[in-house]
Chain length 202, copies 2
């Protein structure tokens, strides 16, 4: 928070962010154009792209941070810690960080979750980000679990993320609260860790 310049820049960024989030929440994602956002933030449309790489990016700001947290969790594997426990710890760390670094007073995560079930474009973006993180997580896993081959590591991460995302989506679609979605995510992890075979004998 240095000079006037930085402050003004931060203010512009925040104005764009708030305008976008508000408009997305009010009219939906597709119904909001970049021009609308810029107008609401009182800047030229072109300026929007000086702050955000794309319209979608506004909703996925913390993606990098989340990946960092996950990689950190993996790197911090405790001696002899089973894979399932490590990944569960990773998930909880991610949830915690998600609650913290919400750049806005109003949380971005619930809105994103809501919009992701409604707007295909956003679902696609979220899935893409997830998919792009997976190889890096898998590589990190290979490092702390010597003897784990790359394909199995990839499968592990994919299974974990897939179960997590799918279970969360079901809960979200059933109109569950934020806590319901979280609980569903944990259940998804359980299924992935214990294996689908475990579902045959409840």
């Amino acid at each position: 928070m240095e000079g006037h310049r930085e402050r003004k820049k931060a203010r512009t960024r925040r104005a764009l962010l708030e305008a976008a989030v508000r408009l997305f929440a009010e009219r939906g994602y597709e119904q909001t154009t970049v021009a609308d956002i810029a107008a609401a933030a009182d800047v030229a449309p072109r300026t929007f792209f000086a702050y955000f790489a794309s319209k979608e990016d506004v909703l996925f700001l913390q993606a990098g941070e989340r990946e960092r947290v996950m990689l950190e969790a993996i790197a911090g594997r405790r001696p002899g810690e089973p894979l399932g426990e490590l990944l569960s710890r990773m998930f909880e760390a991610m949830v915690r960080s998600l609650a913290e670094d919400d750049e806005l007073g109003f949380a971005l995560s619930p809105l994103r979750a809501r919009l992701m079930v409604a707007e295909p474009a956003l679902r696609a973006r979220g899935l893409t980000l997830m998919m792009e993180t997976q190889p890096r997580l898998a590589r990190a896993l290979c490092e702390v679990y010597p003897g784990l081959d790359p394909v199995s590591a990839g499968a592990a991460v994919g299974s974990f993320m897939g179960a997590l995302a799918a279970a969360g989506m079901v809960a979200q679609e059933q109109g569950g609260s934020e806590d319901d979605v979280l609980a569903a995510g944990r259940r998804g992890i359980e299924v992935a860790v214990n294996g689908l075979a475990s579902l045959d004998r409840p």
Copy 2:
């Protein structure tokens, strides 16, 4: 294959398809515009959209058919068949159908696989299609496995698909052959069925 009309329509469609696939393979997906494809097929750009809903759709023609095959496999659950076995059967049925109904002499699947690791837009499309299929597969699972709750069913499908996709991607990125990718997919299924916990004790 009736009159002149149907034949000509089929020829136009095929011309567009072949042009698109050829150009995608030659220059890449992003570098090929719809106008290019239309020009190569010797029709007006506008005509492309009379045959395909979008540029991406050219590469995902069999998506509907694949889902049908998977739903069929689930519906054909044998008495007492464990979940893991059913899903493995489902996967094999899908692979078989994929090899059959390739609309072209040159297979679409390998190209799609190759492009999906290279072009984010296509990865997103593939993931979206997969994600949209999941709830229907989960619902089908619930029907043949009474006692399976929706969230667990969703988790099961997500875990399965996630592991499959991620493992396949790893193999694809490592420059594996089509068979390598297939083998990796099977390995992914194994991991999902037995659970991540099983990776701790090899």
